[in-house]
């Protein structure tokens, strides 16, 4: 299973080893597919085809079923995400406080649509459903950073911090 190019062999191997550890950890555990996919995505940043194939072979689960699960849950991604993942909360509390205007501003400033990633791979934009920080509405999360009480005019300044 080592379909790696020689220049980055060690790097790829390290991730593969970690994946093997994850699969071993869950061997014999019932209903382990979702936890395995979670951890695999943590390792690779998304769920590329060869990773799905490994999981399918090792866990004896058909590829079709794995694909079905990945596409059912919004947290799993078949595409690489940006270095900074912007999540604009569109929960009710945020919506009432104008979260859609914030989202529009991000779209405009980044030139991408929801679900898209900027060409340089720096930012990807997602609309999410309630991060449970309704007291701070409207809320945006950029990776682990939470920004609350935002105004559309502050979007540009925030983006600058990551550029």
């Amino acid at each position: 299973m080592s379909s790696t190019c020689s220049c980055s062999k060690e790097f790829v191997d390290e991730r593969e080893e970690r994946l093997t550890e994850v699969i071993e950890k869950y061997r014999g555990v019932r209903g382990a597919l979702i936890p395995v996919l979670h951890e695999a995505q943590e390792i690779y940043g998304y769920l590329p085809f060869h990773v799905q194939k490994r999981i399918s072979e090792e866990m004896q689960i058909p590829m079709g079923e794995i694909y079905g699960v990945i596409t059912f849950y919004t947290q799993f991604s078949l595409e690489p995400k940006g270095e900074y993942q912007i999540q604009v909360c569109l929960g009710t509390a945020c919506y009432v406080k104008g979260a859609n205007l914030i989202l529009e501003k991000f779209k405009e400033k980044l030139g991408i649509d929801v679900g898209g990633c900027t060409e340089d791979g720096k930012f990807s934009l997602q609309a999410c459903r309630c991060v449970g920080a309704c007291g701070l509405a409207p809320v945006v999360m950029i990776n682990e950073d939470v920004y609350g009480g935002l105004k559309p005019s502050e979007v540009e300044k925030i983006l600058k911090k990551y550029q």
């Binding site: 059912f72 849950y73 009432v96 309630c130 007291g135």
Partner: protein, 598 residues
């Protein structure tokens, strides 16, 4: 054990964490070291107090002084003045304590006075990462009592007598649910917890998980004993990293102390807990879908019966409750059912935690006795509506719920009154909306949510909600047609009758409920192409106030479609309505606030 003369509790819930609570915590420790107070004052990580808006929050005992909205620079002043010299720093105290000269205890502050904290009893009071603190607050006492003094049937009897109803949405009697699971015969049974709090605008469970994870662990072990299960699963949202971490820690600590695992407290009772992360699917809050997801599959619901209590996880009898329901169990066991039934209304006993958000001054988390009126929640606890606006409606129950209009503000809130009003208790999201909120747009927002989150298994939900959204979108965009409202009503009725699961059946509720109270708004959109609340952009006219306009031309320069005409310094500019695409850029750019939409 060391005795301290003061305790400083720093809220480290999600809200406060994003307000730099960690920096406050570190600075506090540093300042205490500087002033050589570390032997006298103890800094504690605490869970959510509910005052999320004014975070980061710090409470100093024994005075019970709540400091809120802190900056790192304020910490030194608090340490020198309050902790060293004993003088409370009044300017930093939480809102309504300020006016008063004296210091009040937590229970006397307006925000807390009307509350009764049962499910949230330990949130913001103990360090959620320490089992010892939980033990000191009667933690695991209920489990001990159950295992050493009570038969499983007695436990269920206590719960039935308490009349506790499920806090996750529908309000099914918890004791009866436990009884079903206990009576089901099988070698293997499961106890599960729904911590997949998916309703937008709800974060009650998050705060309990972050602020008092042991109460859930304890209650699930009690449930395991009562129904005869030795294995439990907690299904929790992956979007709640702090909650997941603290829950993991709580399980480890409980195992270490022999309160979880094999032969608990030497009684021969075994119970083990496992955490399963959700992956962002709203439908997994539905019980059959949740169990399917724990099994590692697509979280699609299945028809009931058989109910999970008979045939649940991997086909075995399974008890499933939500976080807040479980959090009520230990106090009921300890204080008895009569204590619990004294609180609340005739048919809804106890308290309910609400996540209050939207257009209200004190956004945050409140726990109130059932039967409290909306007016008390908004004006006495919530501090009223900001900017002097009028209260218009409150939305409960998220995408499955409905709204309570201002005319019903004095209705006592409980399961049954909410259903009568066409809303529902739901999990406890309470979104307050002011006069600027368009009810048609809110209905459209919820339908958009439902369409997004429909799992796609049954056509009434998959296709029906999509058609409803299309109609609502065209109404809010000014393309509504005569007969659209009636079409919405017919679709709603059919979806309610035919959808497979609870989420599908309740998906039309936001539309039905807004139609019931705000039909005139729908009609204004359809017939007059006007949005009375001034929220639907496509129905607004942007106008430049000729008296304020300084004819600087900035608006015209920024207009993407050249819809603004005029000459610099030669009288006010004018927006050509036919060309205007209502993007709002001019409003934002005008340095004199001369442009408004109406």
């Amino acid at each position: 054990m060391q005795i301290y003369r003061a305790h400083a509790l720093v809220c480290r819930g999600t809200g406060c964490s994003s307000h730099k609570a960690e920096e406050i915590f570190n600075e506090l420790e540093r300042q205490l070291q500087d002033k050589k107070l570390t032997n006298e004052v103890k800094v504690v990580t605490a869970g959510c107090l509910g005052l999320c808006k004014s975070g980061p929050n710090l409470v100093i005992y024994p005075e019970g002084a709540i400091y809120s909205g802190l900056q790192v620079e304020d910490v030194e002043e608090i340490v020198t003045e309050h902790l060293l010299k004993g003088r409370i720093v009044k300017r930093l105290l939480f809102g309504d304590t300020e006016a008063d000269a004296g210091i009040k205890s937590l229970d006397d502050v307006g925000f807390f006075k009307r509350q009764k904290r049962i499910a949230l009893r330990n949130c913001g009071v103990i360090n959620p990462e320490s089992i010892d603190e939980y033990l000191a607050f009667d933690g695991y006492k209920a489990l001990t009592k159950v295992l050493t003094e009570m038969e499983p049937a007695e436990v269920i009897d206590v719960l039935k007598k308490s009349q506790l109803r499920g806090r996750g949405g529908a309000g099914f009697p918890t004791g009866t649910k436990w009884e079903f699971a206990a009576k089901a015969e099988s070698k293997q049974k499961y106890v599960c917890c729904n911590a997949d709090e998916g309703d937008p605008g709800a974060f009650m469970d998050r705060s309990i998980l972050e602020g008092d994870p042991h109460s859930l662990v304890e209650a699930m072990a009690i449930a395991g004993y009562a129904v005869g299960a030795d294995k439990g699963f907690i299904y929790i949202r992956a979007e709640y990293p702090i909650a997941v971490k603290r829950l993991r820690l709580a399980i480890e600590q409980a195992k270490e102390y022999g309160l979880l695992g094999e032969n608990i407290l030497n009684t021969g009772f075994n119970f083990d807990l496992e955490i399963r992360l959700g992956a962002g699917a709203f439908v997994c809050g539905e019980e059959t879908a949740l169990l399917t997801s724990i099994e590692g599959k697509r979280g699609e619901p299945r028809p009931r019966p058989p109910f999970p209590a008979v045939k649940g996880l991997w086909g075995q009898p399974t008890l499933l409750n939500n976080v807040e329901t479980y959090a009520n169990v230990p106090p009921i066991i300890l204080n008895g059912p009569d204590w619990f039934t004294q609180i609340g209304t005739e048919r809804s006993k106890g308290t309910k935690v609400f996540a209050v958000g939207g257009n209200i001054n004190n956004t945050g988390l409140v726990e109130i006795p059932m039967g409290t009126t909306l007016r008390e929640v908004i004006y006495e606890i919530g501090g009223g509506i900001p900017n002097g606006k009028e209260f218009k409606a409150a939305q409960t129950g998220g995408p499955s719920g409905g709204c309570i209009p201002a005319s019903h503000i004095d209705t006592p809130i409980d399961y049954d009154t909410l259903v009568e009003l066409g809303a529902m208790m739901g999990s406890g999201g309470l979104i307050i909306m002011d006069e600027d909120t368009c009810m048609v747009d809110i209905a459209r927002f919820f339908l958009e949510f439902t369409v997004d989150e429909s799992c796609g298994k049954c056509p009434p939900c998959r296709i029906g909600t999509k058609r409803m959204l299309e109609i609502l979108s065209r109404i809010t965009e000014g393309r509504g047609e005569e007969g659209d409202i009636e079409k919405l009503e017919t679709l709603a009725k059919n979806i309610k009758a035919a959808a497979l699961c609870g989420l599908g059946q309740t998906a039309p509720n936001p539309v039905l409920s807004t139609l019931r109270y705000f039909r005139d708004e729908y009609e204004a959109h359809v017939r007059d192409k006007k949005c009375p609340a001034g929220a639907c952009k496509s129905l607004l006219d942007y106008v430049i106030d000729a008296e304020i306009c300084k004819s600087c031309g900035i608006c015209a320069k920024n207009c993407p479609v050249d819809a603004i005409e005029g000459e610099k310094k030669k009288g006010p500019f004018v927006i050509i309505q036919e060309k205007c695409i209502k993007c709002g850029t001019c409003v934002e750019k005008c340095p004199f606030d001369a442009i408004s939409a109406s």
